[in-house]
Symmetry: C2
Subunit: 128 residues, 2 copies
């Protein structure tokens, strides 16, 4: 009985802390103007994360996130698949798999997938 | 002259905030017992990151990071390439591209690359 309880506890601990991207339901981002974009929350406050959350954005070919800002949070972004355009309000910058981007509070940022394959990036934000 | 200054400012801003993985020098991690592991700091305090830093670990085939803990920080990990084994002090858990892992303070964690290709993951840590 005791060993069964320990096994269950370990199982629960592992299930809570390790997630495969294909097991996380995609959501449609709330931001008005997003087109053909989905969002997966990989690591959140509900998982026990104390300071920041990890999400994945997928922008389908032709899809976009309009240029916007946040006053109260930074983003740390890493492109994990495909390529696209980042618009920082000044320039359109091609970005692709292997590119990291730091977006500070009040920095303008938007994304467009001008390729024919999905454009996917990690985006880490503070838990506020 | 003014336009040259504005251009320079925009250039500096972009250079500071966008990094390609191939442009970041790999370092050897300080931790004793690591074998065939390199570390790239993608987003750091020096880039202006206010709360957390983003690194990439690459473990070559046969390489490893021994099981260890940190008392003062969490890790948020996402496997971007390849596959390997995570050891949480209780079990050896296969992980691969597309897997996210939350390692809380005092959680045991170590990694081993039992494959024949590089095993790469993002690891986000607080700036302490």
């Amino acid at each position: 009985m005791l060993s069964a309880l320990i096994f269950f506890k370990v199982r629960v601990k592992l299930i809570m802390k390790i997630k495969k991207i294909e097991d996380v339901n995609p959501e449609i981002p709330q931001m008005p103007g997003t087109k053909d974009v989905s969002l997966q929350w990989l690591i959140t406050k509900n998982d026990g994360a104390p300071h920041y959350a990890m999400r994945i954005f997928t922008i389908e070919p032709g899809g976009s996130i309009p240029v916007h800002t946040h006053t109260n949070m930074e983003h740390e972004i890493f492109v994990i698949e495909g390529e696209g355009i980042m618009n920082n309000g000044v320039s359109e910058i091609p970005v692709k798999k292997g590119t990291a981007i730091l977006v500070l509070p009040n920095d303008k940022h938007g994304f467009f997938n001008n390729s024919d394959k999905p454009f996917k990036f990690i985006c880490v934000i503070p838990i506020v």
